[in-house]
């Protein structure tokens, strides 16, 4: 006896939750890329002044903090407890009618 196969599409709200989680996963990668950029500042041979590098790095930092905080607000604590892998719907309640 096999349990019924999971439905293919999700309700709008759960769909949004998924995408917020995707964003939460991608955010550190964005941070890595942005913080590797300063290495290229000096690539054209003329080193950048420290103050500009500082403003850039701290600016990225602030942006990451704000983005992380915003994502935390968007993540629903109720579905945080994902009992299933990311690509199957959480509960029957989330299935489309």
């Amino acid at each position: 006896m096999r349990p019924p196969a999971p439905p293919l599409f999700l309700e709008r709200r759960s769909y949004r939750q998924r995408r917020v989680r995707d964003a939460a996963r991608l955010l550190p990668l964005l941070g890595v890329v942005l913080w590797l950029m300063p290495l290229m500042f000096a690539a054209d041979g003329d080193p950048a002044p420290t103050s500009r590098a500082m403003i850039y790095i701290f600016g990225v930092w602030l942006g990451l903090i704000a983005a992380a905080a915003a994502l935390t607000l968007g993540l629903d604590p109720a579905t945080d407890d994902s009992a299933q892998p990311a690509d199957t719907p959480e509960t029957t309640a989330d299935r489309p009618d």
Binding site: M1, A24, G31, P49, T50, I55, T72, L75, S82
Partner: protein, 920 residues
């Protein structure tokens, strides 16, 4: 300038403040008012032990030497926190479901609860933390010297070494007092966490205050500051790409694997949701900590005389400007950074040492001496005392090692350089850790190989060269080991020209990962490893059992004896009682089902670590079994199947519980039926004997006329005494019947428990066999409001039972009194054989007797006791696992009269309502 004495006084006052805060927090937590203690804010602040004296003093020095590179140390952790959804969330969930106590415990638990792996990780963690602790000692010592002036150092602070020594001693004492006052069941220390949170605020405020002073006080505003930065000796931003990437990576790794970070991130985490707040709040904290570092460094380079130590600019800059108050704040901030790091690091390390080295060693030694010593009641000392002692000694040991490193390295190196050596050491855990939680194919041998390879390379390429020519001879440094140039510590395999740090990171982590992956691919895991692997990797899918114990073989009582020694009697008894209730049974002994043993092992793991807990249960149980079901679970990879199986399991658990209850009820009924028959014959016999003699002697009196006066007197006397015996029998039957029907009204009075016990002892021992009674009258000096006469009756019965049934050569009865949650608990424990397991349920039922030959009565004493206790709002129960017969009486300190018409709650034995027999 402040004198040494003032500095010491300030430090002591600060430490006393921390201690007070921790004490109050722990008391609040104990009294259940500690909700605010586990808030996301406190959690976030506690993470700030990442920022040690290295950050507080060393970051400025680092910036003065290498410009913006110091930021990498904070960028790595920021990325980890922002990416919490990837790794941290899983780590925290695993930590909570598996009751993980340390990073060594996590790795050993994942790889089949391997003891060897736990030892390797523990040793590596100790060695890796040593330079880090030395760093804290060095910074506190330097700040003392800078503040008070080198020449004002007075005995016992004769020179820097002596100062460092006294700082180490002070910190060791402080940590021992702080962290090992008691052995917590789940390794949480609410008091320590709240103190750390306070220190986080102190050091942040101190650093910000200095920063604000520098930017607005000295430079005159932000634009002017930026101009000064560009004009300073730091000149342009030209980062070394290799170091930039390698340091960011190593700091991210160390953030996860440093023992103290693991302690606050995972072990002390009280709620997974706190991670959500910390994911943005902690990066904000890090940013605030590093914001003013460059301005301070630039201003320091500008204003301070050439050659002054840039590591101390945070302190010396305000001093040189005559800001004594600000300098004092900065000094406290630095002191606070150092103490919080040392406290948590040594608590974490001492937990690892005691759980993974001392206790297993002790178990192994004991196992050699006497097989199954754990199961035997009263064997050896208290394990908890051993664990506490081991922790205290290892805290002292860890600080001693730190001091040793400080002496050996000469105390002259830059703070950041020392800290990075530690980071690279603990980063070696990363492949095994990440592989363990994301890759099911990772094996124990793979992890062991990788760790050892990384460890050896770290030792050879980074730690030993850090002592200069002190330990590695100059020849080895320059020409390689055995003169082989491809073995030069800073240019392995002939790859020269790399920065020594990047070189060491590359080779150690590279070969570590390579060894880990290749050996994992080539080796085959044990069943337990595969089960644990599935548990860890799929923690969000199924957080249930890891491995099965073969139930039924275990003697639950042995397990209880063991658990009492580890968790403490009160928690262990509560746990066993709750487990029995979960199975639908009464009393303290649940059936040894695999689920129960699972939970017990996890409970023990919270105190001892997974590997040790596994060994201990294994010793009591015989051996661990991996059941067919468990193997099925490993073999069965599909999610649907597991889910489906989960549903079935829930149902079958429910069925099993109902079946157990039915079986218990059925057994009880059968026994009662047997007892009823036995009682009927007994009561007939008891009633018939006096009746027979009364009839016989009255017939003699009636029929024989010529009887002399003496004989007549004698026969009448016999009839009279037999009639009295009958009356007494009937009186007691009536007593029980009245109690059972709840028609008795209680005579509530106030009195002292010790008086009640005195009275009972006096009455019971007046004419009985000799019995030594051990008691503590002081503990019993509590006031009760209850029916004292009835209580005396119960105690007399229990003491008389001990007199009758205790079969020790020198019978001894211990009466222990305690008060918990408004209820008095009185334990009567004798040193005999106790009541056999099978009969513990039965003895409180009417007419039950343990042995036929010894009993003087019909077995109603305990049944009456139970009725009395129920009427007084209390209970009486057999307490297993105390090394003899033991009864526990509990009753409320103030009884409420339930009124004569309300029947107390009754057990199944009341199903058969029979006349009863008297007390013995």
């Amino acid at each position: 300038m402040a004198t040494m004495n003032i500095l010491v006084a300030v430090c002591l006052a600060y430490v006393a403040l921390l201690f007070g805060v921790a004490f109050l927090a722990e008391r609040a937590a104990r009294n259940g008012r500690g909700g605010w203690l586990s808030s996301p804010v406190v959690y976030t602040l506690s993470l700030s032990i990442y920022c040690t004296a290295w950050t507080f003093y060393g970051a400025v020095g680092y910036a003065a030497r290498s410009g913006l590179e110091y930021l990498t140390i904070y960028l790595g952790p920021t990325l980890v926190m922002v990416g919490w959804w990837w790794g941290l969330r899983k780590l925290v969930r695993i930590g909570r479901t598996q009751r993980i106590t340390s990073v060594a415990d996590l790795i050993s638990s994942r790889y089949g609860k391997s003891g060897a792996l736990a030892v390797v990780v523990t040793l590596l963690a100790i060695l890796g933390s040593t330079p880090y602790i030395a760093l804290q000692l060095q910074s506190v010592t330097l700040s003392f010297a800078a503040f008070a002036g080198e020449d004002s150092l007075t005995p016992p602070f004769g020179d820097r070494n002596a100062t460092a020594f006294w700082v180490a001693v002070g910190l060791a004492l402080f940590t021992i007092l702080f962290g090992t006052r008691n052995l917590d069941v789940n390794e949480r220390h609410p008091g320590v966490v709240i103190a750390i949170a306070l220190e986080a605020v102190v050091k942040l405020c101190a650093l910000l205050a200095v920063g604000v002073f520098v930017v607005w006080g000295l430079a005159g505003g932000v634009p002017q500051m930026l101009a000064r930065i560009d004009a300073s000796a730091l000149t342009a931003f030209q980062p070394d790409g290799g170091r930039w990437v390698a340091l960011t990576f190593v700091s991210a790794a160390a953030f996860l694997t440093l023992p103290r970070m693991f302690q606050v991130l995972v072990v002390e985490n009280a709620d997974e949701r706190h991670l959500r707040t910390a994911s943005w709040a902690f990066p904000a904290y890090l940013m605030a900590m590093s914001l003013f570092v460059v301005p301070i460094a630039v201003t320091g380079l500008e204003l301070m005389p050439a050659g002054s130590n840039p590591d101390l600019f945070v302190l010396t800059l305000p001093l040189s400007q005559g800001r004594e108050g600000l300098a004092m704040l900065s000094f406290i901030g630095g002191f606070s950074s150092a103490t919080s790091m040392v406290i948590v690091a040594s608590i974490a390390l001492s937990t690892m040492v005691s759980n993974h080295i001392v206790v297993p060693l002790w178990l192994w030694l004991r196992g050699d001496q006497e097989q199954g010593a754990l199961g035997a009641p009263g064997a050896g000392g208290d394990l908890r005392q051993l664990v506490l002692l081991a922790r205290r000694l290892s805290i002292a040991g860890v600080l001693a090692l730190g001091y040793l490193y400080f002496r050996l390295s000469g105390g002259g190196a830059a703070l950041a350089a020392i800290g990075l050596i530690s980071f690279v050491a603990v980063a070696q855990f990363l492949p095994a850790l990440l592989g363990g939680i994301f890759w099911r194919g990772a094996t124990r041998t793979g992890a062991l190989t990788g760790l050892c390879a990384g460890f050896v390379i770290w030792l050879y390429c980074l730690l030993l060269p850090s002592f200069g020519a002190g330990i590695l001879p100059q020849a080895v440094l320059e020409n390689g080991l055995f003169g082989l140039t491809w073995l030069r510590p800073e240019a392995l395999f002939g790859i020269a020209g790399l920065d020594p740090l990047v070189h060491a990171i590359l080779w150690s982590l590279g070969l570590n990962t390579l060894g880990f992956v290749i050996v994992s691919l080539a080796s085959f895991p044990t069943p337990l490893e595969r089960l644990q692997g599935a548990q860890f990797v799929n923690v969000f899918q199924h957080s249930q059992t890891a491995q099965g114990w073969s139930g039924g073989l275990a003697q639950t009582e042995d397990l209880m004896v063991m658990a009492q020694r580890i968790l403490g009697p009160a928690s262990a008894q509560d746990f066993f009682q709750a487990e029995a209730a979960r199975q639908g049974l009464k009393g303290y002994l649940p059936e040894p089902t695999p689920e129960f043993l699972q939970r017990l092992e996890r409970e023990l793991a919270g105190s001892m670590g997974a590997a040790t807990a596994h060994t201990m249960v294994a010793q009591s149980m015989g051996r661990a079994m991996v059941s067919v079901d468990d193997l099925m679970r490993v073999a069965d990879e599909t999610q649907q199947m597991i889910e489906y199986q989960g549903q079935l399991e829930v149902k079958s658990t429910e069925l099993a519980r109902t079946a157990r209850q039915l079986r218990a009820a059925n057994e009880s009924l059968t026994q009662i039926s047997v007892q009823k028959d036995a009682f009927l014959s007994q009561i007939s016999h008891e009633l018939r004997t006096p009746m027979t003699s009364i009839r016989a002697f009255s017939e003699i009196l009636r029929d024989s006329g010529g009887m002399d006066e003496a004989a007549r007197q004698k026969y009448a006397g016999i009839i009279h005494s037999e009639a009295i015996r009958l009356t007494r029998l009937l009186d007691d039957l009536l007593d029980l019947s009245v109690l059972e029907n709840g028609q008795v009204s209680l005579n509530l009075r106030e009195g002292r428990l010790s008086d009640v016990i005195d009275q009972a002892i006096a009455a019971a021992t007046a004419a009985g066999t000799p019995l030594a009674i051990r008691r503590n009258p002081l503990a019993a000096a509590i006031t009760l409001c209850t029916d004292l006469d009835r209580l005396v009756q119960v105690f007399i019965n229990l003491i008389a039972n001990a007199q009758k049934y205790c079969d020790a050569p020198r019978p001894e009865l211990t009466i222990a009194v305690s008060v918990r949650r408004g209820r008095a608990i009185i334990d009567f424990v004798d040193n005999g054989k106790g009541v056999p397991r099978a009969q513990q349920e039965m003895i409180f039922q009417k007419f039950a007797r343990v042995s036929d030959m010894k009993a003087g009565g019909a077995g109603l004493g305990l049944a009456i006791c139970r009725e009395i206790m129920a009427r007084l709002g209390g209970t009486i129960a057999y307490l297993p696992g105390q090394g003899g017969g033991a009864f526990r009486v509990t009753l409320p300190l103030r009884a409420a009269d339930t009124g004569p018409d309300r029947r107390p709650d009754r057990g199944p034995d009341h199903a058969v309502d029979l006349p009863a027999e008297p007390l013995v």
